[in-house]
């Protein structure tokens, strides 16, 4: 059995332990230990029923830990440490785990880490490597998060939007190690969308699939960033695009539009264009209008101005940029792009250089420096 299949079982096994009366934090620890045991012993001695093996091993570890804890605290305290009786999650879904790990009382980074461990079945070491922090730091972040949500009722579904935000965060961030967090986020979102039937969960899944489809073409030699308009579209993953579009269409047919579906619709229109020149910017602008209506987000307003610039020309784009907060990340880059197209190369180069100084990542900074250099070198129109 490979590691990915093993990890699939984690939420269900945590669920079994919780239904038997274990508290979430101890159940989660016990399952992680059982998992480590499985990785050690299964290659030599594979179990007949993987899930049953994990449940038995995790339960044994939970009991050992509970006994040790009781002995440490003494008899009196032990009685108080009995897991509280109360509503327990239903048999076959791990939805409650998603809600618990993305609980609004947790910071986004803690929620992401906890989700990756308890729902994704990743080890602390893998999560630490993905976020480039020491393992001890990540272990603390996770155990503090578990303490914070200890005692919360497990039977009440929370706001799906908080779960989606955490999954989107997992998709967008994560830099190192041997785990592909984007793929992991897609796996978790696919399961969530399947279990809830929520159109926004499907919208987020579609958005992830459509972005993921472009991944190979997004970076050039030496990790340099290749913007959408310059990507080699023959390298886009048509399988992922097809799936993303199908998931999106099914979601849109439910007629409960949300921000992820609108963003996915924009990504789908890009995916649909055989070349950058054939992009349907008019429709994309309409989707940005929709997105702006849904979110009122300043970032959406900024992206909309770029789309307007493509649909109706750079002057219209610059007009749409009026009133957008210049302090936003990428404002300078967007304005530079529009000014370049409007023929104001001098100012465009200055703004690209300014944008490079405010860039949030090395590839973005290098790209913007190159853009400034390119515009300075291009012949005056």
């Amino acid at each position: 059995m490979n590691e990915a299949l093993l990890r699939e079982l984690v939420p269900a096994v945590i669920g079994v332990l919780v239904r038997r009366g274990a508290d979430f934090a101890s159940a989660e620890d016990a399952v992680q230990e059982a998992l480590a045991g499985a990785v050690r012993t299964w290659p030599e001695d594979p179990p007949r029923d993987a899930k049953a093996w994990l449940v038995a091993a995790a339960w044994r570890r939970f009991l050992d830990a509970a006994r040790a804890e009781a002995a440490r605290r003494g008899r009196e305290a032990a009685a108080a440490a009995e897991p509280p009786a109360g509503p327990v999650p239903g048999a076959d879904d791990s939805l409650w785990l998603y809600f618990l790990c993305a609980h609004p009382s947790l910071s986004p980074a803690s929620a992401a880490a906890l989700t990756l461990r308890a729902v994704g079945g990743l080890t602390t070491r893998q999560i630490a490597a993905a976020y480039l922090v020491p393992e001890a730091t990540m272990a603390q972040r996770i155990s503090r998060a578990k303490r914070r949500i200890a005692g919360l009722p497990l039977d009440r579904p929370g706001d799906p939007a908080t779960v989606l935000r955490v999954l989107y965060l997992v998709f967008n961030e994560g830099y190192g190690g041997d785990v592909d967090l984007a793929a992991e986020a897609i796996r978790l979102t696919r399961r969530l969308a399947g279990a809830t039937g929520d159109p926004e969960a499907a919208g987020l899944l579609a958005l992830m699939l459509l972005h993921h489809a472009r991944r190979a073409s997004r970076t050039g030699p030496g990790g340099r960033l290749v913007p959408l308009g310059e990507q080699d579209r023959s390298r886009w993953d048509t399988g992922l695009i097809t799936e993303g579009v199908a998931v999106l269409q099914a979601a849109l047919a439910r007629d409960r539009l949300g921000e992820y579906q609108a963003q996915a619709a924009i990504a789908a229109l890009h995916a649909d264009a055989p070349s950058a020149e054939e992009t349907d910017w008019v429709q994309i602008t309409e989707w940005y209008d929709e997105l702006l209506r849904l979110t009122g987000s300043p970032v959406v307003r900024l992206n909309r101005a770029v789309a307007v610039g493509e649909a109706d020309g750079p002057q219209a784009g610059l007009a749409a940029l009026e009133g957008v907060d210049p302090a936003l990340p990428r404002y300078a880059a967007a304005r530079a792009h529009l000014l370049e197209r409007a023929g104001d190369l001098e100012r465009a180069a200055e703004l690209y250089a300014e944008a490079s100084r405010a860039a949030a990542s090395v590839p973005e900074r290098d790209h913007l420096v190159r853009e400034a250099a390119r515009v300075r070198r291009s012949p005056r129109r």
């Binding site: 340099r224 690209y352 100084r357 949030a360 290098d366 070198r377």
Partner: protein, 135 residues
């Protein structure tokens, strides 16, 4: 082995020999420079001498405690005269001479006109943790 910090400055170091701001280079020169830096780090890694490398944003402020119960006091953004660190590389090498040699190699990254930038890098030895034999 001993660890050294190679510090690169946005401002505050003496002027490079080939001193033109990067956005005045050609895009190809910018790419060649980035490639040289990546190759250099990869060579160090292969040689077992690489520890860490990070780049810093030029944005930043000074901050100090405002006293008990008071919010932090900030001063900034940095004045134009301030020494400004752009990034660093940490290496673990056999000798001080090797540290200088590697810093010089890094400083020779190609710049405007494809000629080496020959910028000044700061080389700082780490204070080592107490060794087992030290008493």
């Amino acid at each position: 082995m001993a660890k050294y910090l190679l510090l690169k400055h946005y401002r505050g170091a003496p002027a490079s020999v080939n001193d033109a701001p990067m956005d005045r280079w050609t895009p190809e020169e910018v790419s060649a420079h980035m490639q040289y830096m990546r190759d250099f780090a990869a060579r160090l890694e292969a040689a077992g001498e690489f520890v860490d490398s990070q780049a810093l944003s030029p944005e930043g402020v000074f901050v100090r405690s405002g006293g008990e119960g008071r919010p932090p006091v900030t001063d900034g953004p940095f004045a134009e005269t301030k020494d400004l660190i752009a990034g660093w590389m940490v290496i673990d090498v056999e000798t001080y001479e090797r540290a200088l040699e590697l810093a010089a190699e890094l400083s020779a990254a190609p710049g405007a006109g494809g000629r080496p930038v020959q910028e000044w890098l700061e080389v700082r030895p780490f204070l080592a943790p107490a060794s087992a034999a030290a008493e």
